[in-house]
């Protein structure tokens, strides 16, 4: 009946050409752009940081795969899990977003954490931060930052023990920001830019991060609005409050946050104006926390708070 001799044409919605970009592309672009920073951290902090990155990203992928298999596939057969994994159309773990979350989470951890910390953090990030909302595209908060905020609140001791770089004589030390906060001691800008300071795995080297960011800009995976408005606001606002502006721009996780976390497409506003507001808001909150708050670093919380505000920004500025 269906097979007629007549040549049936295919009909679908009009645009017949695409620029070939898919969600996979976006996600793998981010992964590629994170490689320089990862390599640098392995060089500086040793193999330990490689292990943390590996554990974190693997846990992310496995968590997402298993949870999607259990709760998101429509007809899941307990007897043949692998078959239903392959057959199901609802499983989107292959799009690489879980890998990005795992990587970014590992980047925000200190290199000294015990190996179970990234596991717990990633499970929380993927399960509560992302899949509870229905998966990629629906989450309100950046999963990686959520995981980090969770870990920081749960195990503050582990999360604030830092490893010195290989060039230093001591083993544990403080990050430039906490040195600034506690002793008022400024770290030389050049050390901050190269990455010869202690800090989280991925956040130390500004050069490596900017290298990756340049790739993202070239691929148009991210737009300039959020990073530029974020960094400019931090710079200007810290000048206004009489703080060392260059130090605040290059220290801590600001570069990592501005280029990789705040630009997470799902959790930021989708109009250019909205993105600029988002960046400015995050910048102001970051500096406020760094100046007046109890924590030395405010990027994580600033972005999370702005994530909560993003739906409102979208509502107003579209």
């Amino acid at each position: 009946m269906e097979r007629q001799s007549r040549n049936l044409l295919i009909t679908s919605s009009p645009p017949y050409i695409k620029n070939g970009e898919t969600v996979h592309c976006l996600m793998f672009d981010v992964i590629i752009s994170l490689v320089p920073a990862a390599l640098f951290s392995i060089y500086v902090f040793g193999v330990r940081s490689l292990w943390i990155i590996f554990i974190s990203s693997m846990t992310a992928v496995i968590t997402e795969g298993v949870l999607q298999l259990l709760f998101f596939t429509k007809e899941f057969n307990y007897k043949t899990p692998i078959l239903s994994f392959i057959k199901s159309e609802d499983i989107t773990v292959t799009d690489g977003s879980a890998l990005v979350t795992g990587l970014l989470l590992a980047f925000t951890l200190p290199p000294t954490v015990p190996y179970w910390i990234p596991i717990v953090g990633t499970v929380v990030a993927i399960a509560l931060g992302k899949l509870a909302f229905g998966g990629l595209g629906y989450n309100i908060f950046n999963p990686a930052l959520l995981g980090r905020a969770f870990l920081l609140a749960a195990w503050p001791v582990y999360m604030t023990t830092w490893l010195a770089t290989i060039n230093a004589d001591v083993v544990t030390t403080a990050t430039p920001l906490s040195m600034m906060k506690e002793d008022g001691q400024l770290t030389p800008i050049i050390n901050l830019i190269v990455g010869n300071v202690s800090g989280s795995i991925g956040e130390t080297s500004v050069v490596a991060l900017l290298l990756g960011a340049a790739y993202l800009f070239y691929k148009r995976t991210i737009t300039w609005h959020i990073p530029v408005s974020y960094i400019v606001t931090v710079f200007v606002f810290s000048l206004v409050l009489g703080m060392p502006a260059f130090f605040h721009v290059f220290s801590g996780g600001l570069i990592l946050g501005a280029f990789y976390m705040a630009t997470d497409v799902v959790t930021s506003p989708c109009t250019p104006k909205g993105r600029i507001i988002f960046g400015c808001g995050a910048g102001i909150i970051t500096i406020l926390i760094r100046k007046y708050g109890g924590y030395p670093e405010g990027v994580c919380y600033a972005i999370l708070i702005m994530n909560a505000v993003a739906p409102l920004i979208d509502r107003i500025k579209r």
Partner: protein
């Protein structure tokens, strides 16, 4: 000095110890009324209004009636009476004089009576021994903090309307998780302004 103290109270109750996210006051309405931005905003305004007035009235009662006669244990009863009466009064007043506002706030006003934020803040005012101005500032900060949290929640829930939230998570569970995440985000303000 005086001003800095007031600012500290204001910031503390509005952001650092947000009335919803850290003190768990007024959660029923927070989850119940945050389904649309409009109603959330109305609720926020109503709560702010009622808290400020209730703070003022209860301060007078506390300071001039209960404390002189050492009747502090009657605080709860007296305050809740005051609040219930106040809400009723405001409702009637609005219904008569400002019908537009009535249409906006109508269904939320009765909800405010059983909102623990109002009673909680008046009790805190009394327990902390705030003076009149401090009570007012505390009430205003609490109300604005309430409004902030509920508006953010409404925005998020407006977006969630399009999300494919898993069935077991739909409704209350996901709302609680959002609450958790907002509380986590507001953690960043811990130790704010305290030197």
């Amino acid at each position: 000095m005086e001003k800095a103290n007031l600012l500290a109270i204001f910031i503390a109750v509005m952001i650092t110890n947000n009335v919803i996210l850290s003190q768990f006051l007024g959660l029923c309405a927070y989850f119940g009324v945050s389904d649309s931005l409009r109603s959330a905003f109305s609720m926020g305004i109503t709560v702010t209004f009622v808290i400020v007035i209730a703070s003022a009235v209860s301060w007078f009662l506390d300071y001039y009636l209960l404390i002189p006669y050492h009747m502090e244990f009657l605080k709860t009863i007296v305050f809740i009476l005051v609040i219930a009466t106040l809400v009723q009064l405001i409702e009637m007043f609005i219904a008569k004089n400002i019908p537009l506002l009535q249409r906006m706030l109508g269904i939320y006003l009765p909800l405010v009576t059983t909102n623990c934020a109002v009673l909680g803040i008046t009790l805190v005012n009394s327990n902390e021994g705030f003076n009149f101005i401090e009570s007012l500032v505390n009430g205003l900060g609490a109300g604005l903090g309430y409004m902030l949290a509920i508006c953010l929640m409404a925005g998020i829930r407006g977006r969630l309307m399009f999300a494919k939230v898993p069935r077991a998570m739909q409704g209350m569970p996901i709302n609680f998780l959002i609450g958790a995440m907002m509380a986590l985000a507001f953690f960043g303000f811990q130790g704010f302004l305290i030197k």
